[in-house]
């Protein structure tokens, strides 16, 4: 729907060759959404000897209009006059009724002293529709925002950082594992504890308590070193397990455990020297186990046992 043809209203001087009635404007459509395009047509009928142009179209900053395209052309009319036509495409902003932008028609005549100017203020207007509710104070997008393309170049430093972090973590893990292995080493732990018990004997620890600790240390050592439930086994079961695994130190170990059993269960009272000797033997056995985990014994030796 066109906004309709209108005629410019301002009065012209008496000797003017250009009359406001010669100027017509039309706009299409008469209502549109903000941001849409309005076709604004200015038509001027004039003498063929005159040259016509349109200037100072009130669009741009501070106005609800922005020129996005324009073209103009002239043609001769059958009545001996000519017609100038300027077709302008305007982007419209804001909301509500907006008067069509004014402009100045400039007419040049060869006989005149200078160009003649006619300022036109159209009475027509267009209605600009807003897509947001006027009662809502916050801005809401008309359509979902278009996501920006992912900056893939950013991945390079991220990946490099991750790789560096992973590598650092791996080395830390290796370090922690090595440290833990060092601290949890059953041989080391058993030897340290056996030494500690020997020191405590000198400070007044009862030999019977020393034997009980000796038994516990040896069982824990066996459990950690050879991965079987020595703590839940009686001495005979441990002996069977060690024999099945062909552990080379089994006879001496079982002898010590038997001695400890006598102290624990038969109320035997060993003297301090006996306890010290057993602790030293235990230390040597543990150290021996560290050097050679298992040895294949001759079948003859197995039989002799």
């Amino acid at each position: 729907m066109a906004a309709g043809l209108g005629t410019a209203l301002p009065p012209a001087s008496a000797n003017a060759t250009l009359r406001p009635a010669d100027v017509r404007v039309s706009a299409e459509p008469d209502s549109l959404f903000a941001g849409e395009r309005l076709r604004y047509i200015i038509t001027v009928q004039h003498d063929r000897r005159d040259s016509i142009s349109v200037a100072s179209l009130k669009a741009g900053q501070g106005t609800p209009f922005e020129i996005t395209g324009t073209k103009s052309f002239s043609k001769n009319l059958p009545d001996g006059r000519a017609e100038f036509r300027m077709d302008t495409e305007l982007a419209v902003f804001g909301s509500g009724r907006k008067p069509l932008p004014g402009f100045t028609v400039v007419s040049g005549h060869a006989s005149a002293a200078g160009p003649e100017r006619l300022v036109i203020t159209p009475s027509e207007s267009v209605t600009v529709l807003s897509m947001t509710d006027s009662t809502v104070t916050e801005l809401r997008p008309i359509a979902p925002p278009v996501s920006a393309p992912f900056p893939t170049w950013l991945m390079v430093p991220v990946l490099l950082s991750l790789a560096a972090l992973g590598l650092a973590g791996y080395f830390v893990k290796l370090l922690v594992t090595a440290l833990r292995r060092h601290l949890d080493d059953p041989v080391r732990a058993a030897r340290n504890r056996l030494r500690a018990i020997r020191r405590q004997l000198s400070k007044g620890l009862q030999p019977a308590a020393g034997y009980e600790s000796l038994s516990n240390i040896l069982r824990e050592f066996l459990q950690k070193r050879y991965q079987f439930g020595a703590l839940e086994m009686v001495t005979q079961e441990i002996a069977d397990e060690l024999a099945a695994r062909r552990i080379n130190i089994r006879q001496e170990l079982i002898k010590l455990l038997d001695e400890a059993d006598l102290v624990k269960f038969a109320d035997r009272r060993p003297d301090i020297e006996e306890c010290r000797r057993s602790l030293r033997i235990a230390e040597v056995l543990v150290a021996t186990a560290a050097e050679a985990e298992t040895t294949e014994e001759e079948p003859l030796m197995e039989d002799s046992e």
Binding site: E232, M233, V234, F265, D267
Partner: protein
């Protein structure tokens, strides 16, 4: 030092007094092939003054073991076949009217013997089972108005057939608890069965077993068993094992808490301690060790731990729980 001397002395006495065990084993071996573990458990029960529940399919020489054992020990023996129509009077005896004297006289039942074989105890109704179990507990029987003490030693060996349950009266848990141990009688090995077959095929009557042990020897041995030293550590281990059947989660066995309907009673701890001492006696030791406990723990606990419905659905038995507990409870 005093304790050490006492234990050494006790050790020597045990070595002397336990000689009857070898004699009994030797005589029993002439009649019974294999079943050494069962015989050991019977001796343990005799020494610890307990009763045994034997479970095994028919034909595994359960009756023969008990009969021969009683003969070798020079103990009186009665075999009672429990049937559904049995009455308590058939077991403990009753008052019989004598028309000549016009008086009632007590007629003692078969329970008056040193060794009783209650064959297929689960075939008789609850009142007969109760009468026997009461006699086992009280060691005396009341007939009419008079209470008669039972003989000493008095030991009941009851048998149950694990495969036939139709028409039987399963022993309630409270009564099962009265038995010190439940021993599973296993099939013999190939060689043992071969020997059994060769011996049994003889037409001649079997050799009469001579009594090689006197009851006095058993009494003296019992007094020695009482004196066997059990350290606090071993006692605590026993209570740990029994408690673990009731509160497995306390021993890192949370998964068992839903599998065990109920665990062993404190009577199990008492019997486990007694049986451990008797086992130590069999090993000629004056002190008990965790090894003794482990040797008889299955027999003492298996009938006292009841698997839950979930456990039965997963085909788990009391033995599985006991094994699990032994693997988690630390030995002192």
């Amino acid at each position: 030092m005093k304790q050490e001397t006492d234990l050494e002395l006790l050790g020597r006495q045990i070595a002397e007094e336990s000689a009857f065990i070898d004699r009994a084993r030797e005589v029993l071996a002439t009649t019974i092939i294999g079943q050494g573990a069962v015989i050991d458990k019977v001796i343990i029960a005799l020494l610890a003054n307990g009763h045994l529940l034997l479970e095994g399919v028919p034909g595994l020489a359960k009756t023969l073991i008990v009969r021969t054992f009683a003969s070798a020990m020079n103990l009186s023996f009665h075999r009672i076949q429990f049937t559904p129509d049995m009455l308590p009077a058939d077991l403990i005896g009753t008052m019989i009217y004598n028309p000549k004297t016009m008086e009632f006289h007590p007629r003692m039942g078969p329970v008056f013997a040193n060794v009783i074989l209650a064959d297929e105890i689960n075939r008789s109704p609850a009142k007969v089972q109760s009468a026997l179990l009461e006699a086992m507990q009280e060691k005396q029987v009341t007939i009419g108005d008079v209470t008669y003490p039972l003989g000493e030693p008095f030991m009941v060996l009851a048998t149950q057939n694990p495969v036939e349950h139709e028409g039987t009266y399963m022993l309630p848990e409270a009564q099962l608890d009265r038995f010190m141990m439940k021993v599973i009688v296993e099939y013999p090995t190939f060689e043992e069965e071969l020997e059994v077959m060769q011996r049994a095929s003889a037409v001649q009557a079997p050799i009469e077993v001579q009594a090689v042990v006197q009851p006095e020897e058993v009494f003296r041995s019992r007094s020695l068993v009482d004196r066997i030293y059990v350290d606090q550590r071993v006692q605590r281990y026993i209570v740990d094992l029994v408690t673990a059947t009731r509160s497995p989660e306390r021993y890192g066995l949370g998964s068992l808490s839903t599998m065990i309907e109920y665990g062993a009673s404190p009577r199990a701890s008492i019997f486990l301690l007694l049986a451990s001492k008797a086992h130590a006696f069999l090993q000629r030791r004056a002190y008990a060790t965790p090894e003794d406990v482990k040797s008889i723990v299955y027999e003492v606990l298996r009938h006292r731990v009841r698997p839950s419905y979930e456990a039965e659905a997963e085909n788990m038995k009391a033995e599985d729980f006991i094994r699990n507990i032994l693997e988690h409870v630390q030995v002192p």
